[in-house]
Symmetry: C2
Subunit: 132 residues, 2 copies
DNA sequence: TGATATAATGATAATGATAACTATTTTCGG
DNA sequence: CCGAAAATAGTTATCATTATCATTATATCA
């Protein structure tokens, strides 16, 4: 039997913080934010819970080429856009294409259960700032 | 003026190793392999050159959710499949969809220059091994 | 071909993100 | 309110990757 989850103040604060914002922060950003209400929360607790919540399907982990991982409070699959300058990740309101998963399933040896799309480029803010 | 590149034995060996294989190894796999011909090559040199070659457009860096980065000797854009069990990354022979980039460009604030798709699931080998 | 400027290396130390450890504290069902 | 089990804080450890720097290799050019 799997251990029964106990929802601690810290876990709920982390989940709420992530749910209440529409960007996709890294663990240390969450840490800084949650510390405003729970000053002595440990960074380890933040990582532990982000991992737990992701495994639990409450949030998403977003893979990154450089630096640290980003987290998404919206567990429903959707696509992302990453700025190559500042590293920020945002949502892309593009309809899901489940048929892609299906098509890939016919092409690879194994079982394909899903896919993710990461768009890249320069975000509006950075395009403004570094408009060379 | 940018510094003029000097093609060392080490850099060429790393590039060749990556070009000669069709999987997508991590830096330490490359290191182990190149060490067979250049035994005293430094791990730092491997990382330095993988970064250099990626920036130069000779190879690709493949983002990963967990663990370490993977590298691809084929710099032409294409899609990938990652096994959630063993972590291996392989190519997916799906036609490119440049129109996705275009569509995303109309939806985000900023400039979208490209996209990548990562399929996930269980590779043939792991499906065989862990067929619970 | 040999001198020279400079890019690249090897070895190692440093960094940064994340995971593991452990004694103590919280949580929650009875 | 009790007690077992889960979670925490604080800390140390681990792992991938970068930076540093004295030395070596590369390419250009006289």
């Amino acid at each position: 039997m799997q251990p029964k989850t106990k929802y601690s103040r810290q876990r709920l604060a982390i989940l709420n913080e992530l749910k209440s914002r529409c960007d996709h922060p890294t663990a240390d950003v969450i840490y800084a934010e949650v510390r405003k209400t729970i000053p002595n929360i440990s960074l380890g607790t933040v990582y532990r819970n982000l991992g737990f919540l992701a495994q639990n399907g409450d949030i998403l982990k977003i893979p990154a080429t450089a630096g640290s991982e980003h987290f998404d409070g919206n567990p429903a699959p959707h696509y992302h856009f990453k700025c190559n300058i500042c590293g920020n990740v945002s949502d892309v309101a593009l309809d899901l294409m489940p048929n892609l998963t299906e098509m890939a399933g016919n092409l690879v040896d194994g079982v394909v259960t899903g896919h993710s799309i990461m768009f890249e480029g320069k975000c509006g803010l950075c395009a403004e700032t570094y408009k060379k």
